[in-house]
């Protein structure tokens, strides 16, 4: 190595030393920092606690329920004429429903179905919303004039979905496809598509002016790689927050569809929304049958909402110190 080369190397090393930061001072990733804040936020802890409890019930509960969910053998104790439906007892912790079935078993199995429907519906909205929004955002941010045209077309489609109030859009979809549990999940998912699409698009467009995008472009990284590898990971935070909040609204919307007679056509399959709607017929003399599924829906939705709001706060760059 020449003398000059050696000196250059020395200089570089000194520079590196100067710019190097202690491990303790090094900036933490957005996610790790957000997680740290979440762990110290009581609201997040309450929300997460509720969700862990209900998810555990949904996963393990159905193996331990005392009676079958379609077992109507206690129907003899239900008297329609005198409006008698036996309440909680040692055998039936939450009593018997108006069709002579064990309410507790149905609530536990219902947890599984309800959460599953909510999660799948949200997943449908998330996947299609992110495909639409991601493509749109990438095209707008990186695609030049033709990209903007593509974005314009895709956004008009999203506008179309936004042009109908959510519940009515869901009603139309169920009416087209015919009522079933699958249809309900699709309908509630489609309602969430435009929100996810707009959110990811906006977030990606905001990111596409960032310095790291300019840097990657000048290094010759392909546009597809920049979009997927650089912009997308930096844009998903609001989408994840929204997904958590959507899980709450999905469960409530499923219940609303049941109430409109567009839920699962088979009410013997326990799902909280269906159960709640079914129990409203006997609300006046057995309000508990409606109260149990309603409380379960409210508490679960609250869990998702609390966690989502706490995440939003934790990821908000304005609040970062």
């Amino acid at each position: 190595m020449t003398q000059l080369g050696k000196r250059k190397l020395e200089k570089l090393e000194r520079l590196a030393e100067l710019s190097a930061v202690n491990a303790a001072d090094r900036g933490e990733s957005l996610w790790r920092e957000a997680f740290k804040r979440l762990r110290h936020n009581p609201i997040a802890l309450i929300g997460a606690g509720i969700l862990v409890l209900f998810i555990l019930i949904a996963l393990i509960g159905p193996f331990f329920v005392p009676y079958g969910i379609k077992d109507t053998r206690w129907i003899t104790q239900v008297s329609a004429r005198d409006n008698i439906i036996p309440g909680p007892s040692a055998q039936h912790w939450l009593g018997i429903d108006h069709n002579g079935r064990d309410e507790f078993s149905r609530m536990v199995v219902g947890a599984q179905n309800t959460l599953l429907v909510g999660v799948i519906a949200t997943a449908i909205g998330l996947v299609f919303g992110c495909l639409l929004g991601g493509l749109s955002g990438a095209a707008y941010g990186l695609g030049g004039k033709r990209g903007r045209q593509l974005d314009n077309v895709l956004m008009r489609f999203v506008d179309m979905l936004l042009a109908m109030p959510g519940l009515l859009l869901a009603v139309s979809i169920v009416a087209i496809l015919g009522p079933s549990l699958t249809t309900v999940m699709i309908a509630v998912g489609v309602v969430a598509v435009p929100t996810f699409a707009r959110l990811l698009r906006g977030s990606m467009i905001a990111q596409s002016n960032a310095e790291y995008v300019v840097a990657a472009t000048s290094l010759g990284v392909s546009r597809g790689k920049i979009a997927v590898g650089h912009i997308l990971p930096n844009s998903v935070a609001p989408v994840i927050v929204q997904a958590t909040l959507t899980l709450a609204t999905a469960i409530i919307e499923v219940a609303g569809l049941s109430f409109l007679g567009l839920g699962n056509p088979d009410p013997s399959v326990p799902e909280w929304g269906t159960m709640l709607n079914d129990a409203l017929q006997v609300f006046e003399f057995a309000p508990r049958l409606a109260a149990f599924p309603a409380l379960a829906i409210i508490i679960t939705a609250l869990g998702f909402t609390l966690l989502g709001e706490a995440m939003r706060e934790a990821l908000d760059p304005k609040l970062r110190k």
Partner: protein, 334 residues
């Protein structure tokens, strides 16, 4: 400004075209096609063929779509299978009820929400603040129809303070001019009829207001908190202005902008919620009729109503956008 409005109106065209296509597909996806929807299951092959010919269903699809569009543009949505009346007429017979309900809900939501949000922000971390923030988180998680049942059971059935169902007591013999019952009562001087209609609006209005109220409380609170820290509020205090003047002129005026934006977004939720609320309280508006046409498989009504609601919804959102740029001169419309 004018260019902005024209641009937004032009943007509506593809949206509404897409919607009409969706509804057209819907009509054709019906089991047995539209002729079954009209004739029911009892049609013979001959009558079916006749109806198909009359409806032009033997024509190519694009011709059918053209005709369908032509009818839509002239406001002809066909007749209700259930009542045999034109869908348009059914809609406008019931629309005043839903408008009344929505206005009642907005009065509750704004009238309670803005003062509560303001007080919560001024007394940050007090019990009032915690209660309103906590309450607003819970309120959005309660299925609105369940809330309606609870409210109805408590205040109408058990306490008997308010009527449990309907828009007006059937025993009241009132004249209807506009079909806005409260307005009708005032116009004709039938004060008892107007009062009765108002009493019928309280419970459904409160139920429908729950979610918007929660959202308005939170937005107002957040927005007032932000404005409170602004320099101009400190300046106003330093100038020795009265607290009332600071509140009205400096804090609330500036804090209201995000609230106005949210109001537009709430319309969709209100229309969705109206379907559920009207069903619970047997309140004869468009929501209840939609619920009934779902059970009666009255597709022309469902389709027509959804199309008209979508149109109203996009127009309301356009109005909100325009009013927003009028209220805040800083918002420069592109």
């Amino acid at each position: 400004m004018f260019r902005f409005i024209v641009r937004r109106l032009l943007q509506l065209i593809p949206t509404l075209l897409g919607l009409s296509l969706l509804l057209f597909v819907w009509l054709h996806r019906l089991p047995g096609g539209p002729e079954t929807a009209l004739l029911g299951e009892r049609g013979t092959p001959e009558t079916r063929a006749m109806v198909r010919h009359q409806l032009g269903l033997d024509q190519p699809l694009w011709v059918q779509y053209g005709r369908f569009m032509k009818r839509l543009l002239t406001g002809d949505f066909g007749n209700s299978i259930d009542t045999k009346q034109p869908v348009m007429q059914e809609f406008f017979d019931r629309f005043p009820g839903t408008v009344e309900l929505t206005i009642a809900a907005l009065i509750f939501a704004i009238g309670i929400g803005i003062p509560l949000g303001y007080l919560a922000a001024r007394r940050r971390a007090s019990w009032l603040d915690n209660l309103s923030v906590g309450g607003s988180l819970v309120a959005v998680c309660v299925p609105i129809f369940f809330l309606g049942y609870l409210v109805k059971q408590l205040f109408a059935v058990n306490l008997g303070w308010f009527p449990p169902a309907g828009r007006q007591d059937v025993t009241i013999n009132s004249t209807h001019v506009t079909n806005f019952y409260v307005l009708d009562g005032i116009l004709t001087g039938e004060w008892d009829a107007a009062w009765d209609a108002i009493m019928h609006l309280v419970l459904p209005g409160l139920t429908l207001a729950s979610v918007p109220l929660a959202i308005i409380v939170r937005i107002t609170r957040a927005s007032v908190l932000e404005v409170l820290g602004e320099d101009y509020v400190r300046t106003a205090r330093a100038k020795g202005l009265t607290e009332r003047r600071i509140r009205g002129r400096h804090i609330l005026r500036n804090a209201m902008l995000p609230v106005v934006t949210v109001l537009g977004l709430l319309t969709g939720g209100l229309l969705s919620g109206a379907v559920l609320t009207e069903t619970v309280f047997a309140f004869t508006g468009i929501g209840l009729f939609i619920r009934q046409s779902i059970s009666n498989l009255d597709y022309p009504v469902l389709m027509g109503f959804i199309m008209i609601i979508a149109l109203i919804y996009v127009l309301v959102n356009l109005l909100v956008d325009i009013s927003y740029s009028l209220i805040d001169p800083r918002v420069r419309v592109r």
